[in-house]
Amino acid sequence: MNHLKKISLAVLFSGIISSFAMAGEARGAGATAVPGQVSSKSYLKECGACHLAFQPQLLPKRSWEKIMSTLDKHFGDSATLDEDTRSEILAYLITNSAETSSSKVSKKMLASIGKAQAPLRITETAYFKRKHREVQAGVFKRKSIGSPANCTACHPMAEKGNYDEHKVKIPK
């Protein structure tokens, strides 16, 4: 009995220690975080001017290729770039696409997308929809939010790749 207690205490402690470690930078291993901050200055400047520079780990390579080859009609807007900048950003996105990541988010995201599909929106993936099933459609349309693509509205640490649901604050 005493022996068992010791073991369970040890398990408990290691659990607490590992959860502290998780709270640090290793949080990337958690289900709601994408490892690493976006590091490409061009990507942050060009794409991040209009919307959050979504972590490349959130979509497969084929999606980024499609997005970056249709910038003249980017969800109805013109987002054209000069060729040097375009290919530089594309290279960054491909080098860091979901396939290259060991994070749970990337793996679950990839698993939720059909092999023949190349979604252009993170918000149209089954994984995104599943994670946001409790959020009613009207919430995304609030003036303070505007669109489901405005991650930062509810996920204050989205820019750092942290989408932890405990950090969520939905604005009125």
């Binding site: 209009c50 919307h51 109805g76 013109s78 669109s147 693509a149």
Partner: protein, 143 residues
Amino acid sequence: MRIPSLFTSVCLFVTMAPGLGLAAGLNAEMTKYVQVLEAQTKKQETGFKGFDAERGRKIFFDARPNDKTGTISCATCHTSDLKKSGKTLVGKVVEPLAPSVNKKRLTNVKDTEKWLTRNFKQVYGREGTAREKGDVLKFIIAQ
């Protein structure tokens, strides 16, 4: 020797003077950019008398039909007070456009050209002419 050099400087003054008048406060590369727009407009429009902030203001506020938003103008994202921050259609903050409150504005030709091209397409569905770009720049500079 003296006469040709005097002649050259007079010519330079004549060609540059209108550009300098508009581009007050702009750095060298932006001043040159505005001068290029001016030269293009002169070729395209007979009787062109220089860029006009009031015409620029109309271009900025003219609301056009848009599939997503009903109507759209430059002010949709930049707001009607250029000294204030605006918001993109997806909700990201747009820093103020007025150079008087945002020193980074209108300092880089590549950025300025990119945004003029994109945003004319966004609002008007086509690129702006050299005259329209010059007019809207003159309006923004004055803010």
